[in-house]
């Protein structure tokens, strides 16, 4: 058989395999256009001070949590994935993981109603009605969860509902030995 005639076939099969691979990667992982890599890993967490959901006269502030690793979770009662991850966050709270919530662009009454119904996994909840804190953290969807270490450095981030798999993969190691 003519060797040259095989070249297009090899090219075709090669390209088809490449496209299939990228297509599969797009659903989950590196090539997912919705999974924008965060700019924040290894960077100091921006300071914030937001009115508390349960007591707007009080401020919820990032400086309170210096000295131990903690989770920062951005959520809203309008976000279905936040409802879905709620049980897992409550389970984390029972394990003693400190979680601070940011109720993003939400009606405070709706936010409180959600926590009353789905359980409240948070030590404190700050309100961000105009996305000021959210933009500062480069957040573009909810839920997003950041891990901030004892020195105030962001070490990990998860986009979407947190579950055991994501926890083991990204977060668990920072809470070992506690």
């Amino acid at each position: 058989m003519n060797k040259k005639a095989v070249i297009p076939l090899v090219l075709f099969v090669g390209l088809a395999a490449l496209f299939l691979y990228v297509l599969m990667q797009m659903n989950e992982g590196e090539y997912n256009p919705r999974d924008i890599p965060t700019e924040f890993i290894g960077r100091a967490a921006p300071a914030f001070s937001l009115p508390s959901l349960f007591n707007p006269a009080k401020q919820v502030s990032s400086s309170t949590y210096k000295g131990k690793p903690w989770l920062l979770n951005i959520w809203g009662s309008w976000c279905p994935e936040c409802w879905r991850e709620s049980d897992y966050l409550v389970a984390l709270k029972r394990r003693g993981i400190p979680i601070v919530g940011i109720d993003w662009r939400d009606d405070p009454a709706d936010g409180k109603a959600m926590l009353a119904r789905a359980g409240n996994p948070f030590l404190e909840v700050g309100m961000d009605p105009d996305s000021s804190m959210v933009i500062d953290y480069g957040v573009y969807g909810a839920p997003e969860t950041f891990l901030i270490d004892a020195e105030g450095i962001i070490r990990a981030k998860h986009k979407g509902a947190l579950d055991e798999r994501a926890w083991q993969e990204k977060f668990a190691k920072y809470f070992e030995g506690q």
Partner: protein, 158 residues
């Protein structure tokens, strides 16, 4: 019956529009121009294929507001772009920056184009050469004529 309903619909649509209009008070024309430039150069991260000027996503609204606030604070265009890139990465820019990391993105298509033209010219030249190199003697020529005549005869018969 239908007309009141139509009027109600029109009124409602007017109201709906009114809520979408954002009124920003700029200090001067330059500020307003920079605002327009920035909001068409920054990508809406929720809808991804829209700039933040075009998008009605809530985050885009808030990002527009942030741009406005920063302009009012006296920040210039580059400072605001840096602010957004620091938080959202290059993805927030509709036009990726021209630098080592993105070089292939910018020059890749041109390289591919030049390569395609070169390949095409080569194929054409080769084909021409092949045609030119065909040598036939009178014997072959006669055979060809014969075959062609034969064909026309056959064609007539069929």
């Amino acid at each position: 019956m239908r007309i009141p309903a139509l009027i109600a619909l029109l009124l409602f649509s007017l109201l709906a529009r009114a809520t979408n209009i954002e009124v920003y008070d700029f200090d001067n024309d330059t500020q307003e121009r920079t605002y327009k430039e920035l909001t068409t150069e920054l990508r809406c991260l929720v809808c991804q294929n829209q700039d933040i000027a075009d998008s009605n996503a809530e985050l885009a609204q808030d990002m527009r507001h942030k741009v406005f606030k920063m302009l009012k604070e006296g920040k210039d265009k580059q400072q605001i772009i840096d602010f957004m890139v620091k938080r959202y990465g290059d993805f927030v820019l509709y036009k990726p920056p021209f630098e080592g990391r993105t070089l292939i993105l910018w020059v890749g298509p041109f390289i591919l184009f030049v390569l395609a033209v070169w390949l095409m010219l080569r194929v054409i030249r080769k084909a021409r050469e092949r045609d030119r190199n065909i040598t036939i003697d009178s014997n072959q020529l006669e055979q060809a004529h014969h075959l062609l005549d034969d064909e026309t005869d056959n064609g007539n018969k069929a």
